[in-house]
């Protein structure tokens, strides 16, 4: 989506971050429109966090153009930070303070009066369903609760833009779904979300549009559906063979579908009709232990683009 610094909430051209000889972000271009949920998808070390830190105005841009809210982070860092909410990858809550005090003091950083900070804290605790823990210390809270508190904290300044760096990494499925639900509500209210993730399901659930990053570069861009349509087929047939058999099948798998991907533990066959691939495999005399036909996901897109799976 082409944009200008005036129309986009975030506008990046040739954005680059180097640490000494290491290039963490290598000349990436992207725009994030107001109200959009935008994702950086990629494996660990792809440059997602470095990009997020530059957007969060805590990491200087090495090269290229970056405008956030039409402001230059090199000059207006504090002013930009005043209008965004950040959920960092690892929790930075003060575990010795109470749940409520964590929110109130954070509001104070933004210059809110104590009474206003307390009012918003109460509201936000309600929003993330932590009201009954308001007076408890943070230390004993579960991982999911701490994440929810961090999200509440990032909302204390009523930000136009939220940056979420791997918001659900390490959480159990229940906690993730609760978190997704809250983020979805924020999106409905018109808050712009920018998130990084290495979970395909998370990107599919939350992102209107995403970029796939690999080795510091953007390798694809689009909505989850567009990316799947462009880089994967409609369906995938997963064939799992007994240990040691897969290596002996050279030549017998080719042509089963549009494309065949051999992973260490299974073979993926891409086609628009997974069932007929399964029958064709039987006709060829192949005897997989299990066969699974499923719809393509962003994981398949990533595999196609990079030849590697997302979580390595």
């Amino acid at each position: 989506m082409p944009g200008t610094p005036e129309t986009s909430l975030i506008h990046a051209r040739g954005l680059t971050k180097r640490f000494g000889k290491l290039t963490a972000v290598d000349s990436i271009d992207f725009d994030v429109a107001p109200g959009e949920a935008f994702g950086f998808l990629g494996p660990n070390g792809a440059g997602k966090t470095s990009a997020m830190r530059m957007i969060g105005c805590v990491s200087p841009v090495t090269e290229g153009l970056l405008r956030i809210l039409n402001l230059d982070p090199a000059i207006h860092g504090p002013q930009i930070r005043a209008r965004i909410g950040v959920v960092p990858q690892s929790d930075t809550l003060d575990t010795e303070l109470t749940v409520r005090d964590n929110l109130v003091i954070y509001g104070r950083y933004f210059g809110l009066a104590r009474s206003e900070a307390a009012r918003r804290a109460a509201e936000l605790l309600d929003f993330v369903q932590l009201t009954d823990r308001a007076n408890d210390r943070v230390e004993p809270l579960s991982g999911g609760m701490k994440r929810r508190l961090t999200i509440a904290r990032s909302l204390i300044n009523e930000p136009q833009l939220m940056l979420l760096d791997e918001p659900t990494t390490g959480l159990d499925p229940q906690a993730r779904h609760l978190l997704w639900d809250r983020l979805y509500r924020l999106k409905q209210r018109g808050t712009t979300l920018v998130l990084t993730t290495h979970y395909m399901d998370e990107a599919e659930q939350l992102c209107d549009r995403l970029v796939v990053m690999d080795k510091a570069r953007i390798v694809a861009e689009g909505s989850p559906r567009q990316l799947i349509d462009e880089y994967a087929t409609r369906e995938v047939t997963e064939l799992r063979f007994p240990v040691g058999i897969q290596e002996t099948l050279d030549g017998q798998l080719e042509g089963l579908g549009e494309r065949v991907e051999k992973l260490p533990d299974r073979v993926l066959v891409y086609s628009n009709d997974g069932e007929s691939v399964a029958s064709a495999a039987h006709e060829r005399g192949l005897q997989p232990e299990t066969i699974l036909v499923r719809r393509s996901t962003l994981e398949d897109v990533f595999l196609r683009l990079t030849g590697r799976s997302l979580i390595e």
Partner: protein, 261 residues
Amino acid sequence: MTALLAPAARSYEHMFLLYRRTWRGSIFNSFLSPILFMLAMGIGLGTFIDDGGTAALGVPYLQFLAPGLLASTVMQTASFESTFPIMAGMVWTKRYHAMHATPLRPADIALGQLGWIATRITLVAAIFVAVMVAFGAARSPLVVFSIPVAVLTGMAFSAPIAAFAATQDRMDNFSAIFRFGITPLFLFSGTFFPVEQLPAYLQPIAWVTPLWHGVELCRDLSLGTIGADPLMALVHLAVLLVFAGGGILATLMTFRRRLVK
């Protein structure tokens, strides 16, 4: 000026909030222990020393010891407050990183932290001086001014140590600071006996480190002898200011380097 310091005041406020929850744990180390130490050494041991006559020191031992102990105690609290709490902010709870995601700048965060340490040690110094006065350990009303001098002495340690602590990932080097820095200075910077008693080759160490200057100033104020050598008093003050000022600049730099990457 107030607008300039308002963000730093918010970083300070966080420390205040934390202390409100944890102050009980600091009562013994910061307040009771140094006062008991002063009374045991000054009155208990002091009675023996004074029995041999007060000619050597010119005053009862308690009055000699107490202002020195004031400066040393503040040094110790200030040093401790500049190691682990800074590491917590950078590495453990990452409090500083959370602050930096908001309009606060690294300089605001650093100044708020140092300002809080100054408050903490002002409290320690004020209570210590009150006890000194109550037990007749001070000879002059000028002892009141030994409170800000002790705080300055504390900052002459706090600021350089905080600057260093902000660069550390683990607490390993902190014990070295106490073992090879704070504890020897505590013992040999004129707190318990005049540095002239030290071997001549060790005396320069006292001259180039801040504690001796703080001890001498506090003692001259408490004994009321500050007017005897005003030039020397200015030298003491200048040394303390250089250490504290240099340390503050260094802290601003290391906080910035650590947080802006």
